[in-house]
């Protein structure tokens, strides 16, 4: 108990807490049969992953993870699941099909990933970042990566217009009603 440092212990304990949260909730996403539970347990997975980014001192990426995945994609997913569930009036359940081929593919992917991680990857331990990453990201986006940035923004803009066009009520149909 002499060398026991509560700070380090708490730091690691919280890390493992989030790690367990990610693994358990991700397993629930896959194994729970009710599709609505899958969608909701994705909340904990995505949130835990953003905690992992915090542990890598990537604060901006962590917050972006919450904005994009929890605030955008997850809510869209939940809306989709809820609306389809209500319209079809039957419970959507996930089930297991093609057990053997999927198991083989899963094992192959797992094996190749583990092989790469353990034997091929050149792990490099960087220094812990203490300064903010927001300003470097801003400079890089507007200087070195301005073309990809603009292309992405035009893509999103087109998607926005397309969504608005699809969602728009058809004036001919509504007039005939």
């Amino acid at each position: 108990m002499e060398n026991f440092d509560f700070g380090v212990f708490a730091y690691q304990a919280i890390f493992y807490l989030f790690a367990i949260l990610i693994v358990v909730s991700a397993a629930m996403v896959v194994f729970v049969r009710s599709i609505i539970y899958s969608a909701f347990s994705l909340l904990f997975t995505l949130f835990g992953i953003s905690a992992m980014y915090v542990y890598l001192s990537a604060d901006f990426v962590a917050v972006t993870q919450i904005v994009v995945y929890v605030g955008g994609i997850l809510i869209l997913l939940l809306f989709g699941v809820m609306l389809t569930n209500k319209i079809t009036q039957e419970r959507l359940l996930t089930d297991v099909f093609n057990l053997v081929p999927s198991l083989l593919i899963m094992l192959a992917i797992l094996g190749s990933l583990l092989y790469t991680f353990l034997f091929r990857a050149k792990w490099h331990t960087g220094e812990q970042r203490t300064t903010t990453v927001v300003e470097p990201i801003g400079y890089e986006v507007i200087t070195n990566y301005v073309l990809p940035f603009e292309i992405v923004s035009i893509l999103l803009f087109v998607a926005l217009i397309g969504a608005a066009y699809i969602a728009r009520s058809d004036s001919k149909v509504s007039a005939s009603k």
């Binding site: 909701f40 949130f47 604060d59 917050v63 972006t64 919450i66 605030g71 809510i75 809820m82 903010t132």
Partner: protein, 375 residues
Amino acid sequence: MKPLALLVPDALTATAVPVQAENSWVKAFESLEVFGVPVGIFAIPAIPLVFIALYALYVGVYGERKVSAFMQDRIGPNETGKWGLLQTIADILKLIQKEDIVPIAADKPLFVLGPLIIFVGAFAAYAVLPFSSEFIGADLNVGVFYAVSIVSVEAVGILMCGWGSNNKWSLFGAVRSVAQVVSYEIPASIAILVGVMMAGSLSMQKIVMSQSGELGILHYAVFQSPVAWIAMIIYFIAALAECNRAPFDIPEAESELVSGYFTEYGGMKFAMIFLAEYASMFMTSVILSVLFLGGWNSPLPNIGGVALNDWTSGPVWGAFWIILKGFFFVIVMMWVRWTFPRFRVDQLMYLCWKVLTPIALLIFVFAAVWELYVR
């Protein structure tokens, strides 16, 4: 540093140079240990939690009743205790004693988890609220961004409540509420960006520090740019919608949806949802004051030898000012609630997408040009 020295405001020693936030109270808490266990670490999040409970009791529930009574020319609670002050305590005792009912057709895990997630979403933003120059839960480099993002957790909690209740009113309320929160995040975020651009930082403490000076209120961001006040009003309107407050309370709309996504809730679960609503009201009020109204800076100016600004600056004064500003906007939200009728759903979406968002975008561009070439 001696613990007692922290409680004494160094008002007389404060200088005219912009105040530097050193978060010394937080650091003192962090080093506070009892038998090697850093209890101080747990005290830092506990302080806002206790604050939310007290504020929701007295400014929230009691204040709302008194304000609504005043607006409707009534007296409000006046029987229990002096001026009815014990009424909220009686209410809380009643809520605690109530049977914890879960409807038999409800989806139990989601029904139970929903209020918790809503409250966690509302409370998590308190980590980055600067309560004083010396107290902020976590002075993140991305503080404002974090506060904007974490609200979306609340939206997932609302969907959980609405779905878990297995009630059509609840589901309609939840879907309306989330659609509203997600839509109004856009004008709110653009308005926040105007404030962030003027301060040149995403860190809450740095934003507040950029607005301090010996002229008090004149250094506030709202007076630094000709369009900042428009951004402030847009953020306030969007904040009303994000908190599901009237005139944007269509998710609970008593006259059509009973009470929206919390129709089936009672007892402490209901109390939790209400606590979250009051918590996010105060949170948005504080973000508004941090971005545009100087946060914990004193509004009073130094006039020659009468150094009002110096006398009313310092850590304890800072806490006083920010809580005062927060309460002011909470009271304004209540005033608005009891004054305006509810919007229709299409009016709500019209206001968001065709009025607030274009105006916010124009202001954003104008504020950027102003920051670059004029200021």
